[in-house]
Symmetry: C2
DNA sequence: AACAATCTCGACACCCTGTCGAAACGCGAT
DNA sequence: ATCGCGTTTCGACAGGGTGTCGAGATTGTT
């Protein structure tokens, strides 16, 4: 298994070899083409030739910018990763003020990040099965949300607002997994799905029930 | 988009053209080879040549038995579909006797079906993104579980054991989606995952909390 | 103008899929 | 036994995708 990442794993070097001149626009054109085509058909059906032609270069020239088609997806996913980490940021502060609103913010942010990059996320979900790097990077995103969720659950238990029960980490994994799968189904219209406008409400209700055994958790 | 299914959509005709002689063993050999290889590497990395050689025939001969690689997976999935439908069967009877045990049975059956065909299910999850037929067939399985769950929730609400709240269908979708994703992560060791022995317990707790707002729901 | 780094692409080797037609096989009817 | 006819097999081909190489074009610097 060869790796697409630079040795240092630096996200900024995922694409081309170091040093740059005028070709930056070409690199961006490839990324833009990829994002556009992904909204039209599954990632697996997009060829490197499609990406190259879309960016106005020949197929061999593509390889100057990216080592493979997957590397393009990984670069796109890097952006989403950064945005997702930022979005999780302070959503967990002052949970005691108004738990329902705070958890709603949290799920809403996950939802917004997911939806803003729907095409990339759906493509990653498809590629995840076949590409270990996509799988690992996506796992890292999810792990971050799980940790934040776990910490918030533990804090709520400490202040007596939430009852003890399942290990907080297991609960956090289950709830975040649910969010991922439910949102995926809704955005992809894949199988039984919750209607798009209701997604956040439905998920929030399950979260509150699972964490507090109530949909009206106590504030301070 | 060409279809792999026979016009009638009959599961028994998914493979070869009608009429048969001694080649049944070959067809089974292909299926057995597929199931074995899927435990070793992702479905996308298995070629038709691999399947043919594994069954002791040449690559063109493979096409006598199946029209494509996906058709093999679909045939395997047909078995799982049948088993899953059967497993859901009477798991919803006498829910009022002992809700916790009954829901536990239900999740346990989903879990057992999933685990018994781990390789097939993981391969389908991978192929789902690229193949519409796999996606539809898997959706049908999930839809069946969702309907059963929805009916059981509504029955529990009618007898006053479960409080009103979210539409039962939305709740059923969310919970079954959670089960699918959590089990997938656990079996595939993909990203944050619940430890294998705890999966059913964790899921059951979330189900009971979401349906009853309690982990000790009332029996008759 | 000359050099070097950057960038481009024609041509190639390789792998995989799906199809065709010819040939081999199995078996009941003559 | 052998003829005939469906069943089964495979060599060979066409088409399309990936990744690589080396030669050439472009651009910025001196």
């Amino acid at each position: 298994m060869t790796t697409v990442r630079a040795a240092a794993g630096n996200a900024t070097t995922r694409g081309r070899r170091a040093g740059r001149r005028s070709g930056d626009q070409r690199e961006l054109a490839i990324l833009a083409t990829a994002e556009r085509l992904m909204t039209e058909r599954p990632f697996a059906e997009i060829s490197i030739d499609d990406l190259a032609r879309g960016a106005g270069i020949s197929r061999p020239a593509f390889y100057f910018y990216f080592p493979s088609k997957d590397a393009v997806l990984l670069t796109l996913l890097d952006r989403v990763t950064a945005e997702a980490d930022a979005a999780a940021g302070d959503a967990f502060d002052r949970m005691a003020d108004d738990p329902r609103s705070r958890w709603g913010d949290l799920i809403g942010r996950f939802h917004d990040t997911f939806r803003a990059h729907k095409a990339v996320v759906l493509a990653c979900a498809q590629a995840r099965g076949a590409n270990a790097e996509v799988r690992e990077l996506w796992s890292a995103v999810l792990e971050h949300w799980v940790r934040c969720t776990q910490a918030a659950i533990e804090a709520e238990r400490r202040r007596g607002a939430a009852p003890d029960g399942l290990p907080a980490r297991d609960l956090a994994i289950a709830l975040n997994s649910m969010n991922e799968r439910v949102m995926y189904a809704t955005f992809a219209s894949d199988g039984p799905a919750v209607a798009a406008p209701d997604v956040v409400d439905v998920l929030l209700d399950v979260w509150l029930a699972a964490i507090y055994r109530s949909t009206t958790p106590p504030s301070v």
